[in-house]
Symmetry: C2
Subunit: 288 residues, 2 copies
């Protein structure tokens, strides 16, 4: 069952992150890093562990990669929440790092979380050095100025653009901002196994886009108390989203079609991919 | 001759960085990354290439690691210069990234430069995967929350501390903020060769500390036009430095003693280490 499996992942990855943070020198910086690494759905960690399981790689072996992708994700949230970026005071229902500490601590904690992500990808537990180097490379490509950070830059630029983004532009933005790291997570198992990541890449592309559409829907229909951050921000800011382009029902049917596409991509893995199929369904039915 | 050798390094590493930046998607983000990756002494790149040469590793082979350490260094400068950190408007004689663009671009350009550094450490040119993984691990340990970022956090905390830092505290701060990355650079050659990095570590420890003392001296005696950034900031802020603790002459003789120590550490490498010896002398005689 997917919710139970996700809970297991949450516990395992939190433990791995807590252990990594505990090795750092004590102080505000470590506290802020540990705080930022708490909570979240851990969908990306789940994708790492489940894609690894497809190739017979145990959770214990793949865990550092799962922790790495969550550390990377946490860094992006800490920086994105800063006043000069999305300016959010609340994240996962808690004050953001720059609110609880200050902006300098947010910059540094985010920086250190990114570093930690790459360090975790080098953990010998993950297997042969060739595979770990491939993992570091893939994470760098997914998260850097051609991936996640590129998407974030497009998002920031959109705020001051003369015209609202087109659907194509939003899709490209999403492919970077959230899609690239979701794709990395889903392909990580194949990378660790030295297998062809193509079917997982197709799954992740559809899943990532559906995930972003669901996020846009949540910003319209969601309950802030459940979502854990402000809702209604997009419409308030006059921001072009999948919902503003497709309408609420159009967005929902597009997301559903993408989930079908994601499931189809998993066909080569047969029954072993059931948890990944369940995750795809979850992405468009979640309330937070 | 050291100045000529440093010029060669500057050209080679700039070319490598320019090539890496050219592969990124066009836009403000790429422009800001390219801008931040320009100029500088390239002392860290020099240390990588010269330590590699001790073990017969060519400049062509070690160049991605030299570019990596400079990308990492550039990221740290972009973030350190931000208003919530050291708040500097000028760097290497040019407007800082957040002045020329904006704070969001500075956050993102710094983030992407860090990512690029880790990606460069995975370049197949560098050699066997085991060595590249060791390099990524060493860079992460030097630059993260137990290394450079830790030192930066101590530096920020010192600004609001009740009492000026003691000499021990300044030394610990420096070991993180500038020392860790200098040590990484000097040890990189041994890491790439699979050799014992201990003599280079001892050299780098002394060199890094002398470098910081020289920086503190430049803040008192330097010419802003040559240094390329504001001078006199430390005294103005009532900041404890090696100069405020040791006096100007005391600081100079401490730096000179450290350079002797650095040279002694290079004894095992004999004549091959002449460029590294010259670099140590340069560090305390530089005017920028």
């Amino acid at each position: 069952m997917f919710p139970e499996r996700l809970s297991e992942v949450q516990i395992a990855v939190q433990h791995a992150l807590d252990q990594a943070v505990a090795r750092l020198p004590a102080g505000d910086l470590r506290d802020a890093i540990g705080y930022a690494a708490q909570g979240g759905k851990r969908l990306r960690a789940f994708l790492v562990l489940e894609s690894a399981a497809l190739f017979g790689i145990s959770q214990a072996q793949a865990l550092p990669a799962a922790a790495a992708v969550e550390a990377l994700h946490a860094y992006s949230l800490v920086h994105d929440d800063m006043p000069c970026m999305d300016d959010d005071d609340l994240r996962r229902g808690q004050p953001t790092v720059h609110v609880k500490w200050d902006e300098a601590t947010a910059v540094l904690a985010g920086d250190a979380l990114q570093t930690l992500a790459f360090e975790l990808c080098c953990d010998p537990t993950l297997g042969p050095a060739e595979r770990r180097v491939a993992l570091v490379t893939a994470l760098a490509q997914a998260s850097g100025a051609a991936g996640m950070v590129y998407g974030q830059a497009l998002d920031i630029a959109a705020e001051t653009a003369a015209a609202p983004l087109t659907l194509d532009e939003i899709t490209r933005l999403q492919a970077g901002k959230t899609g690239a790291l979701i794709s990395f997570a889903a392909e990580a198992g194949a990378i660790l196994a030295g297998a062809d990541p193509a079917p997982l890449a197709a799954y992740a592309r559809a899943l990532g886009l559906a995930f972003q559409i669901a996020d846009d829907i949540l910003d319209v229909e969601g309950d802030a108390a459940l979502v854990g951050k402000q809702v209604g921000k997009d419409a308030q800011a006059g921001k072009a989203t999948f919902v503003s382009h497709l309408g609420l029902e159009g967005a929902k049917s597009r997301a559903a079609a993408l989930i079908d596409e994601a499931e189809t991509a998993l066909a080569p893995y047969g029954a072993k991919a059931q948890n990944l199929r369940d995750a795809a369904r979850f992405v468009i039915s979640r309330d937070k």
